[in-house]
Subunit: 342 residues, 2 copies
């Protein structure tokens, strides 16, 4: 169903998923395109970012952000063009970073918008120059604190956050070891992103290969997956290791805890014995203080070719649910972005 | 068996405990008192500190320090008097802090000794002014970082580390909530140490009472026990909470992990959602940089009556095994010290 004039397509949460989301949990709706009132801006969505955190919003389990209510539009960061404005600071044609969510159009008072200068690669505002890049930058530098010669490990290394973590680690003189799903992704992480090693998490010898790729142990483990990757990482953590805890995608569809034994005491004992610092963070906490300096430094790195990122661009808002479900299974290759309109 | 002239009694590790240590795991031996060679000092042990970390040295499981070998003397911090010296810097009668272990006499080259000025309360060098006090000070201030008005929770609150943690928390303007075993200890923690609340961990309503004692949640949890206390603390941890991980006495006798479910993902998810920092530390790492400033500040607090500590003094080296076993069960009341000689 392509977009037609005067119709605002939006994808709402139809039901809370039990375990892995299915397309039944989403509903495509058609509403009239709204008209801006005084002080309002009407935005057209060009790009929609799909990110793992959205799985959390679909549930009503306790989280750091309130859940999306059933019937509400799915949330999400977007690149938008102003198509009508009754706001003094925005004019038709302006390109902005916003939070329109999974829909063609949205009205806003402009307070949540950041103006985008360069239209050529505007989708980067959703990846390296946006939330995923800021997540990687803040978590690695402010919590992970990699030092030259240390070993930094990150999973989902071909994804938006992981790819940037490894590239910043290299900039800081550390060894970057990635973990990715499949030989193609591993080759890309090694050859294109310049990691020192990349291990295929689907390999039956995964844990052994990770140990071989980290002969001096692991000093920083940027945690964005959990599950079997964490299990393989734990015995390799060095004394004084840092573990920024950014995400746990392997568990987002869990409906109950895994069977025993209970390894909670094991983890606490490891933190103690190895003097490990594990620290969770939610990037939304850090925008006020941290986004501007991040954006400056990362823009320079991107311009210099020191940080790059493959994008996995899927055309059509109507394909967002399938693409999102695939991302949770690791089927995307690069930062997943929906091209909603040109 | 009291000590007699020219006999050095020592308590050696007879066997590695399976689970809780028994008196069979220790062996009392009698050797000749050695004679100092050139550059050596002969020390008489006056006080021996008994501390939970010693349980770790009895095992050959991986740890931060090599295990005590079967047949070797048990390790431990001691207050000693120099009884013979062929070392230019020490004279007969000097009072020193050393590491003689569980024995009457030891020879040393002096490099491991700290001179003690005030003989009146020399056993304090094994508690508030020694390793337990330094552990509390470093862990609470450098990792816990309590702020005025925040809630600090610590277990084993009548013990050497816990008691000091709570009293420093009060000095820093935080609310101190202790956990201790039994009504007597709780009364002491409240009335003598000045904590704001103290919960009896043996109460069937323990978890509920802890929650009631922490109406604003927990900002700093100084972890020295693990087990059921940690279970009750986890749901109360505030956003941005800090968890210095200092010890896990509830698990030191464990021979295998507890039954499931596996709560490792639960803990990781909690760190993430609540942006918690959990950090293990081993106080031995911090002596070079931290002990002198700690000693200065803590001496002033002790002199001013701001930090105090009950000592549980047991007479006789031969009673150390029973006393140690009792400590692991929480039967001591205050810092456990063996008076080996006057």
């Amino acid at each position: 169903m392509p977009q037609t004039a005067n119709v605002n397509r939006r994808i709402a949460l139809a039901s809370r998923p039990k375990g892995a989301p299915t397309t039944e949990d989403f509903r495509l709706e058609q509403l009239d395109v709204p008209t801006p009132g005084d002080g309002q801006v009407l935005l057209r969505t060009l790009y929609l970012s799909l990110d793992p955190y959205m799985r959390g919003r679909m549930s009503d389990a306790p989280s750091y952000a309130p859940p999306t209510e059933v019937g509400d539009v799915m949330v999400g960061g977007t690149v938008n063009r102003v198509v009508a404005s009754r706001h003094p600071k925005f004019a038709e044609g302006d390109l902005v970073l916003g939070g329109a969510g999974w829909q063609d159009y949205v009205l806003t008072d402009g307070s949540d918008l950041m103006r985008l200068g360069d239209a050529a690669h505007s989708s980067l505002a959703l990846s390296v120059l946006g939330m995923p890049g800021f997540t990687a930058y803040h978590g690695l530098l402010n919590i992970g604190e990699p030092k030259p010669g240390e070993t930094v490990v990150v999973a989902a290394a071909s994804g938006a956050v992981g790819a940037v973590v490894g590239q910043i680690a290299k900039i800081k003189g550390a060894r970057a070891v990635g973990i990715a799903g499949g030989a193609d992704k591993c080759r890309y992480v090694l050859d294109e992103l310049g990691f020192d090693a990349c291990i295929d998490r689907n390999d039956p010898q995964f844990a052994k290969q990770l140990a071989q790729a980290c002969p001096d142990g692991i000093d920083v483990y940027f945690e964005n997956v959990g599950g079997a990757v964490l299990d393989a990482v734990l015995p390799l953590l060095n004394i004084g290791a840092r573990v920024p805890v950014c995400g746990l995608i392997a568990h987002y569809n869990d409906q109950k805890l895994p069977p025993g034994p209970d390894r909670l005491p094991l983890l606490m004992g490891l933190l103690l014995r190895q003097r490990i610092r594990a620290q969770g963070f939610i990037i939304l906490d850090h925008y006020a203080d941290g986004f501007a300096p991040f954006y400056r430094e990362m823009s320079a790195w991107v311009a210099a070719g020191k940080v790059k990122l493959r994008e996995d661009i899927v055309d059509g808002l109507e394909n967002a649910p399938e693409a999102f479900i695939g991302m949770l299974e690791g089927r995307n290759f690069g930062k997943l972005v929906i091209r909603v309109a040109d």
